[in-house]
Subunit: 447 residues, 2 copies
């Protein structure tokens, strides 16, 4: 409601080209909210609005638009306006926008920029998605070890408007090798004459440009730092990833894992914006692949045709058994996938985890076996009850173990453990369940 | 490996009580790593180590120990040592520790603290878990609107050692009502004579003490702020939640959702530390509950006994059909649960999402129906193929719709949408699948 009123208000101000009132409005609210209010405007109108604002205000607003909108607006801009906007943008945002543009747009844009800026954009835009390099910004502040605190503070004040953060600074040598780090708080508290080398923290936790972005939020959260420095393969400082970009990465990773855990290929945009075709194509692949897994269960059933034909009652218990195995497997897989993702459990802990969880799997199997024994007695007599209870124990036990091991196996094969999804585990456990259940039944009923 | 060597080194220094070397070691590494290295020491040994350190160093190290270890170490401390440590701890950490202690420990501790500190602890410890109140710290810096920038900077420098952050400051009136906010960067860049009221940002995004912690990382990430202020029911500022605590909360929430999405009750500790009994008890409840859901499928099968007995081949296709429906349902549920959790989709979007996704569900059903038609032809003849294909279409379509709606229904009932897990959806869809499949079969085979 509020947003709708705001959108109308902005529309009105735009129609009357009321610059003063627009700027006042923007000053009194957060850019993110303002950007959300104009999100659905046509690109041409957003452009018109941006051009009413000062360049820094343009930037602040522009970076909150969603990437597709940014690229649409950029396409309608004149070369000069775009170059001006680009030059004032923070580097990481700039590289992201650059990646959104098509070849022609890039060619239009580049001549308007300074050489250093062109190099910077090309460099940042060259790192593969979801790596530290793609996430980092080059807008960090550096100090030298032989500077005094007061000299450093003066420099920081001068640089503050252009830097993504000045709250954490990095001490480098002539080759840009990282010597240490200092927070602004420590600088403010230190005596003005102290030398940086005497007060800096010499051991800095850093990541490599090629590292997976997944690591970064873990590091920031574990060490309670505001940013993590990024080094290239020559150990030179090339950027930092700040906590806010790390938080976005963490959310992206958790969303991707949640999607994979349900056998959906990772979506490229949020559900609210995704196209029907993309939503379909990200789901159908796994659904069809899993059909072939389910054929195994069907083949298992066909193999036991005689047993089934002679004892139709066995079929009634099948959903119960096979379902319980799949559920236990999904539980174990989800627990493992998440523990591997947060770094709580690592690949090397496999055997330890297996030993511990095998006991739990056994206890679960026993409890479930006892539960269905009574259900079996009630609905099929003592013979069926025994078959169902025994099968339940093994199906739940083996289902749990499969769910537990699959993420480790995928991780060993350098695949994402999150692919060990509920549906995949369920399909595998279903086939094992059919074999165990009807195997037992054939054996025990023949005795 | 590295950690093991470090652990041995620390053990050795402890045995020889080498204070100087211990302090040197601690200075050269991050407290989090040091704490991880001593995590498995007995409480008595950790206490001995802490007492070799200065009070601030004790604090820094202590807060990185896990909560159980903190409480063990606290139990072995003398009343005076504990009170001293407590007084130097940051307030949020203090309240967490207080919550870990038993009644007797609390009674031992309280008399050693100043009245203001006791009140502060009791207040912070009184907010329910997983609310903004429980997550917040009272270690924030406040300014007054009629102060100048230079006066404010002097005050911040004085307070810096005691505050959790000085990078974001809050402007309050005599009643502690929040008037605005300023970042340290803005303060540094402003002219020293400016009045705070003229440069502060008057619209501050805040949360209520009773708000769910889930909201906070979303706000921090959306507005790119370093902390969110927390207000009580009289709109007075009572604390702030900083980005690092928000990141921990986000990870906790994502883990909880991942667990719920596999029908595991939320675990109280990470997998690596959880007891066998807890792991068992968090899984068995849902497993047994779902047994009763699966009984529905069994009853459905019993109902169609005649059809099955006459056409055993129908059974072979059951895992395929029922599995595919469950998989499609799990996909839809996981996508919705995650979208609701990140705020990308809200409850009010239900009908819009349903309209859009019903088309996708139909397309998925069609594709799957066509796929299995050929499998049916190959393995059972044209009649079976038709039954299987038709059933597949409906099972996948209805499975998707159930998976899509369940999170919204749970959310409407004020339950956590994440409970709409794969196993729950699978169990419900299984039963519908059995009815649809054998219903069609009975109908078509009679014709």
């Amino acid at each position: 409601m509020l947003q709708k009123r705001l959108t109308q208000q902005i529309s009105h101000l735009l129609e009357t080209s009321d610059k003063v009132e627009l700027r006042r409005l923007l000053k009194h609210m957060h850019d993110a909210d303002f950007a959300a209010a104009i999100e659905d405007f046509p690109a041409q109108l957003i452009l018109q609005l941006l051009l009413l604002l000062s360049l820094p205000a343009q930037c602040h607003l522009f970076v909150y638009l969603d990437p597709q909108k940014q690229s649409d607006v950029a396409s309608s801009m004149s070369r000069n306006d775009l170059a001006a906007l680009f030059s004032s943008m923070e580097q990481a945002a700039r590289a992201d926008l650059y990646n959104q543009l098509d070849t022609q747009q890039r060619q239009t844009l580049m001549p308007g920029l300074a050489q250093a800026e062109r190099d910077d954009i090309r460099k940042l835009a060259s790192y593969p998605e979801k790596t530290a390099g793609a996430l980092m910004t080059s807008g960090y502040a550096t100090l030298r070890s032989n500077w005094t605190v007061s000299k450093s503070l003066i420099k920081l004040r001068l640089e503050a408007p252009d830097k993504e953060t000045i709250y954490q600074t990095y001490v480098i040598d002539d080759q840009r090798r990282l010597l240490g780090t200092l927070s602004l708080r420590e600088l403010i508290l230190a005596s003005p004459d102290s030398l940086i080398e005497n007060i800096m923290l010499p051991e800095v936790v850093s990541v490599q440009v090629t590292d997976d972005q997944e690591k970064i939020p873990q590091i920031i959260s574990y060490y309670d730092v505001i940013a993590v420095p990024v080094l290239d393969d020559e150990s030179k400082l090339v950027g930092i990833v700040t906590y806010d970009d790390a938080m976005d990465a963490a959310e992206e990773e958790a969303t991707e894992d949640a999607q994979k855990s349900a056998s959906v290929a990772a979506l490229d945009s949020p559900m609210s914006k995704i196209s029907l075709w993309e939503l379909y194509s990200k789901r159908i692949g796994w659904l069809i692949l899993l059909v072939f897994g389910a054929l195994l269960s069907g083949a298992g059933l066909a193999f036991f045709e005689e047993t089934i034909a002679a004892n139709i009652a066995l079929v009634f218990f099948m959903p119960l058994l096979v379902g319980a195995g799949g559920n236990a497997g999904s539980q174990a897989a989800a627990l493992m996938v998440r523990s591997l993702a947060t770094g709580d459990v690592e690949y090397k802990d496999w055997t330890k985890v297996l030993r511990k969880d095998a006991l739990v799997a056994m206890a679960l199997g026993l409890s479930m076996g006892v539960t269905v024994y009574f259900l079996g007695l009630l609905r099929g007599g003592p013979e069926i009850a025994l078959i169902v209870a025994l099968s339940m124990f093994f199906v739940v036990f083996i289902g749990s173990i499969i769910g537990l091991c699959l993420p480790f196996i995928l991780s060993k094969l350098n695949l994402d453990p999150a692919t060990a999804s509920g549906p995949l585990v369920t399909t595998i456990v279903d086939a094992s369940g059919v074999l165990i259940y009807f195997g037992f039944a054939t054996l025990l009923l023949q005795l």
